[in-house]
């Protein structure tokens, strides 16, 4: 078999594919964070908790209301997004005048409360969410077996990431949102309801986290701590991409997923720190991140 640096090509292709799957999750989560930071200046530490809530909403609605995966894919982000809007109106809006540090602390506190409550009611072991029947089975790609569900994750992530980028960069709504970050009082003078815009933005970012949660539910156990381990990596991804840069979040999310995948083959022990090593390097060379504005 053909080899590159002693590693068979089939293995490299396989890991590339798996890296893309993991990168899709990173991209979707960091996208939500980037939207929230870029438009509101809030470092949303509760993102992992909303991701877990999204997965739990799907699980509980299946168990108690019989709502299937496809409906949950829409309903769960909607519900958690509304919860996000409520938390913005009740809590976050009071700290906009303060330093960014306060937003970080407040959202970190929210994350602890949400995870603690989930832990209290559902325990730590986690529960299984079945793979929807239409997406069961595997593709045989020749060089690897790819479960259909994982391919679906890549597809959804690509569509969502592109849509969000398009909305923010190319539509009138996106233009208004960006104007709100540049000069909110002026925009308000034009008759735009800026506080509502901000609340909806936060809700949208949170809904993205919840969507990632629903997507991951059939892949890993749904448990209260599922978000806290992921959110730290995702923050590193956002920093590497450039805080607030949508394109940066997506590109660095996908590429770091792939780099992490290769690390798992070459030196598995380092696979959980490679992202942070790259973050440190990027911060030294380009402190604003790869796609950030200096």
């Amino acid at each position: 078999m053909t080899e590159i640096f002693g590693v068979p090509v089939a293995v490299i292709l396989g890991q590339l594919m798996l890296g893309l799957v993991n990168g899709s999750f990173y991209a979707m989560l960091s996208l939500g964070l980037a939207v929230i930071f870029g438009l509101m200046g809030v470092v949303n530490f509760a993102h992992g908790a909303f991701y877990a809530l999204g997965a739990f909403a799907a699980l509980l609605s299946l168990q108690h209301l019989g709502i299937n995966y496809w409906a949950a894919l829409v309903l769960s982000p909607l519900l958690i997004g509304l919860l996000g809007i409520a938390s913005e109106r009740l809590l976050l809006r009071h700290i906009y005048q303060l330093e960014p540090l306060y937003g970080l602390l407040l959202t970190f506190g929210m994350a602890l409360v949400i995870e603690g409550l989930l832990h209290q009611y559902f325990g730590a072991s986690g529960q299984s969410y079945p793979v929807p029947s239409a997406l069961r089975g595997v593709f045989n790609l020749g060089f690897m077996i790819l479960p259909i569900y994982r391919a679906w994750v890549i597809l959804v992530s690509m569509v969502v990431c592109f849509s969000v980028w398009y909305i923010i960069e190319c539509t009138r709504l996106g233009g208004t949102l960006r104007a709100a970050t540049e000069n909110a009082p002026l925009l308000q003078a034009f008759g735009v309801n800026v506080p509502l815009l901000v609340a909806v933005t936060y809700g949208g970012g949170v809904a993205l986290a919840a969507l990632a949660g629903v997507l991951s539910a059939p892949v890993i156990l749904v448990s209260p701590q599922m978000g806290s381990s992921l959110v730290i990596v995702v923050f590193a991804v956002v920093v590497i991409g450039g805080m607030g840069s949508i394109l940066g979040a997506v590109v660095s999310g996908l590429s770091l997923g792939v780099i992490e995948g290769f690390t798992k083959v070459i030196y598995p022990e380092a696979s959980n720190i490679v992202v942070f090593l790259i973050m440190a390097l990027v911060l030294i060379v380009r402190p604003a991140g790869l796609f950030g504005k200096e």
């Binding site: 293995v11 396989g14 890991q15 798996l18 890296g19 799957v21 993991n22 999750f25 603690g116 832990h119 325990g123 730590a124 072991s125 986690g126 529960q127 299984s128 793979v131 595997v138 690897m144 077996i145 479960p147 569900y149 994982r150 892949v219 890993i220 156990l221 448990s223 701590q225 381990s229 992921l230 990596v233 995948g261 798992k264 083959v265 598995p268 022990e269 696979s271 959980n272 720190i273």
Partner: protein, 402 residues
Amino acid sequence: MKSLKSVWAAAALVMAALGPAPAAFAAADEVVIGDIDDFSGTYADVGGNGAVEAIHMAIADFGGTVLGKKITVLTADHQNKPDIGASKFREWADQSGLTALLGGSNTGVSIAMAKVAATKKIPFFAIGAGGSSLTNEDCTAYTVHYAYDTTALANGTATTVVQNGGKSWFFLTADYAFGTQLQTAASKVVEANGGKTLGAVRVPLGASDFSSFLLQAQGSGAQVLALANAGEDFSNSLKAANEFGITKKMKPAALLTFITNIDSLGLATAQGLYLTDGFYWDLNDDTRAFSKRFFEKIKKEPTMDDGGYYSATLTYLKAVKAVGSTDADKVMAELKKTKINDMFAKGGYIRADGVMVHDMYVMQVKSPQESKYPWDYYRLLRVMKGEEAFGPITGLCSLAPK
């Protein structure tokens, strides 16, 4: 000026470390049992609140008091951090009149707490930590290792799988003390039985995705996929192995599984899995009676850790009663010479190195069709005698020469 400041700072630190004078000692007519465990992390469902309930059940069954003294239970969350566990233990020893500590769910934390047990001279029952180093390199005169250890797990599962034809092994190992000790123990057993280890991959604790590692396992061509991990890592790696169709070609062997993990995964995913357990709720009338009471409070069946907590509490109280005091040295001497007979262990005993030797059970997970009632998850394949499970004394612990 600056140096004066740092002197003051150092003084303040020292004073904080020393803590208030030990005037706050609990009344001498109390027996204080502490429990330092994972109450909020990935192992919280294995022990945690269930284990606390088991302690209270043991105290109730013992009669509520010992030597006419009240029995107090203290609990604390070590958050899987060795420094937190050790400092809480020290605090209770200095300020709360602690007479015995139960704790565990994490080998790293337990090793740190065993060191405190040795300096404070307080009996420490390690329950739920796997690492057999607790009774070897890291042994102390005050440590008792209850419920199970990595040696017993390897002896049970690895022997059974090799005897059933699984000759070549690939390990998916959690990259910390517990995982590596488990892998070492299991590969020794595999080789002793005529099998061989084809490779291993060390996976960082709490990895978000296991598929890359599993693909490497598959590439090795080994017959057995050995999961030397625990808790959520175990569940997620087995789930992914199923998803990628790896379990069709490789036989998975769980080196540490608790019944709560099987409950999370569901039988459809876990069926056929070989595992070793120190306790099963549906083993006999005694275990069923205990489990029924436990279930009413906790709403799930007890794990081997819950059973171990119950048994250890009872064993400790019996020893205190027998020697007529809570004096650590007298209690330890008594513990090491009496047989343990309760719903958890029959004819168990505590060896010189601190291992609580008792029978272990090799189990296989039932298929959904075989399971007849809720929590009917395991088929008993073999009862492994304590001596076989925990193996001979290694001589690594200075208290127990070979």
